[in-house]
């Protein structure tokens, strides 16, 4: 007879299972950066710098050693928190970790804001669509979900910029903060939180106004995925056998909808949340470019442009860590909500 599994044991298992995933991601990064085209220094500087410089750089980075040695050093360095020193034009000489530390809060702020927009709009559209199955509202909702999801995020960003910033002048065009005012003192690095911590409502409003367009852009695109998932799940739960059984027991229709249909429909949404974050980060890179947002995505693209190889590697690795962290959180969250998940 099945008994209740322990949530703690489940959480620990997920944590242990996440380790190979991280290792694989790190290996993929290693493979792409060092094995595919020979090595990064050749790929990035080949023909553009004297051979002696290249050789010296190669030696400095340990690229003249056999792959397995490089791999071991690489893994050891990552887990000891040593991400190396930037070689590029912008941040040359700075520690990679320090650079990332500056940029990460911007991306986190953008991501959280976008997730809030996406889940609010997406879940609402999905629920409304699902309840009114095959009615006009539903068709509109479905078309919205399908269409918004495939609109290029940078194009949507440009159009929103054009409308709200250039034409209507309601919101700032780009960047994280007004040039005329100085951002709040760094505590978390998130301008909204920091300004609230500093008790400066005016700065908070500036930060929110700057966040609005990028978050709306990214959130809108992402909401399509939410809308589709929620609708599909709601259609399933609304017709579920246990809903019919609850109705036969004379449970109020409102209770049935909220406790049986909605709640159960939102469970699978949690499991696709990990995937949503992958899409979100890809979108963030584009959105940061469109809105000149000084975050991790911009950092990665800039590093690729100036061929700053330690910084490229560091950025990608931090993204890997975040992805793995999110996948653990998502698993644990669904374990907390859904008793069947704890095996």
């Amino acid at each position: 007879m099945p008994r209740r599994g322990s949530l703690l044991a489940y959480g620990l298992t997920r944590l242990i299972l996440a380790f190979p995933m991280l290792l694989i991601l790190l290996t993929v990064v290693f493979t792409v950066l060092r094995i595919i085209p020979g090595d990064p220094i050749y790929a990035l500087y080949g023909g553009r710098a004297p051979l002696s410089v290249i050789m010296a750089l190669r030696h400095q980075l340990g690229l003249d050693k056999p792959y397995w040695q490089q791999y071991v050093t690489y893994i050891v360095q990552i887990f000891t928190g040593n991400f190396g020193v930037s070689l590029g034009a912008h941040y040359g000489g700075q520690s990679v970790i320090a650079v990332i530390d500056q940029k990460l809060p911007a991306t986190i702020e953008l991501s959280i804001g976008s997730m809030i927009v996406a889940s609010t709009i997406g879940i609402s559209v999905g629920l409304i669509s699902g309840i009114n199955r095959d009615k006009v509202v539903d068709v509109v909702g479905r078309l919205y979900g399908t269409t918004i999801f495939v609109i290029p995020v940078f194009w949507l960003g440009l159009m929103l910029q054009l409308l709200f910033a250039v034409d209507l002048r309601w919101l700032p065009v780009n960047s994280r903060f007004d040039i005329s005012s100085s951002p709040p003192a760094t505590i978390t690095g998130l301008y909204t939180i920091d300004s609230l911590l500093a008790g400066r409502l005016d700065l908070f409003i500036i930060a929110i106004r700057h966040l609005a367009l990028p978050c709306l852009t990214l959130g809108l695109v992402l909401s399509g995925f939410f809308a589709k998932t929620v609708r599909a799940n709601l259609l399933r739960t609304i017709n579920a056998d246990y809903v019919e059984a609850a109705r036969a027991r004379g449970i109020k229709e409102r209770t049935i909808m909220s406790r049986y249909a909605f709640k159960n429909a939102l469970i699978p949404v949690i499991t696709v949340l990990g995937l949503e974050f992958a899409i979100l980060f890809a979108g963030a890179v584009l959105t940061e470019t469109t809105f000149n947002w000084d975050g991790m995505g911009r950092l990665l693209i800039d590093s690729i442009e100036v061929q700053d190889y330690p910084l490229i590697q560091g950025t990608i690795i931090v993204f890997s860590f975040i992805i793995v962290l999110i996948s653990i959180l998502v698993d644990i969250l669904s374990g907390v909500i859904d008793p069947r998940v704890r095996y």
Binding site: Y242, R247, E253
Partner: protein, 298 residues
């Protein structure tokens, strides 16, 4: 599609009546029609009179109160009928509170009593549905149906997904309920053996219509309608000496045959059976059949 057509059935208090029919005969639609929980856009015509009140004329709030409180329904597959995210306790408390103003303690006490009467350990009330076996879940479903003391229990293939011994256990529970609580039972099944063991009267369904109604003794020993006869013959039971089957396949209900719906498969069919819809006539005391030639089969 006409799942059911011209159904007329009386259930008296404390009686158990069996509804038998093959897959697709519309028998399950009946159970849901009684509780008015058919899918939206389903049209129900006719009168459902429950203890002198016509259900069709009641407003939604009244109907909701009748569901569960006066008429309870248990289903075929107990595995999918409980909300996987709610504990058994939540199911009970919610059901009781949907009908009566009682404290949570009072509701819990009733739930525990109902569970205990179904031999489910009350210590497991805070478990989730997936932590129970199939037979246990069906007991929980029955306990959940009984906790409000309904006067009519509609059981829609309650044992179909269960093994034969557990099936027998559940059937005994149903019989006990009928005896101790004087509850009426409407048992929907495709298994004639179950009807013979549990029910007082039987209605035989074919293609969305009742073809014969009578006491179990009459139906099983001296059936009138050819379909009932052939159906009884085609059962393979322990005393079966030779095999019988009914030619052809059950009709689809989108375009059922004209006249008597059984005529294409009936070995006794005459030309008139194709045109004339046979009424449900009384042939013996308490035995009605919808066959134009019913008299010949007496």
């Amino acid at each position: 599609m006409h799942a059911l057509d011209n159904i007329s059935l009386d259930v008296t208090s404390g009686e158990s009546i069996g509804i038998v029919g093959e897959t697709g005969s519309g028998k399950s639609t009946l159970g849901k029609a009684i509780l008015e929980i058919l899918p939206p856009r389903t049209e129900v015509k006719g009168r459902l009179v429950f203890r002198g009140r016509e259900l069709g004329q009641l407003d939604n709030a009244r109907i909701r109160h009748i569901r569960g409180e006066e008429i309870a329904l248990i289903f075929q597959d107990p595995m999918t009928r409980l909300n996987p995210l709610m504990t058994i306790e939540d199911h009970f408390v919610e059901t009781i509170k949907a009908h009566q103003r009682v404290s949570r303690q009072e509701a819990l006490a009733r739930a525990e009593a109902a569970l205990a009467s179904m031999r489910v350990p009350e210590s497991r009330i805070s478990n989730y549905p997936h932590e129970f076996s199939g037979g246990m879940r069906q007991r929980i479903m029955i306990a959940l149906a009984l906790v409000l003391n309904p006067s009519l229990l509609v059981a829609d293939e309650p044992t179909t997904s269960l093994d034969v011994i557990v099936e027998a256990q559940i059937l005994e529970i149903l019989e006990d309920l009928k005896r101790t609580y004087k509850m009426s039972l409407l048992l929907i099944t495709h298994n004639l053996g179950i009807v013979a063991e549990v029910c007082d009267r039987v209605a035989v369904f074919y293609a969305g219509k009742i073809v014969e109604v009578g006491t179990v003794d009459d139906i099983f020993t001296r059936p009138i309608h050819p379909y009932t006869r052939l159906l009884l013959q085609s059962i393979i039971h322990l005393d079966t000496k030779e095999l019988h089957s009914i030619d052809g396949a059950p009709p689809d209900l989108v375009s059922p045959p004209t006249g008597c719906r059984f005529h294409p498969r009936c070995p006794y069919a005459q030309a008139v059976c194709r045109e004339k819809i046979p009424p449900l006539d009384q042939f013996r005391q308490d035995q009605l059949a919808a066959c134009l030639f019913g008299k010949d089969f007496l």
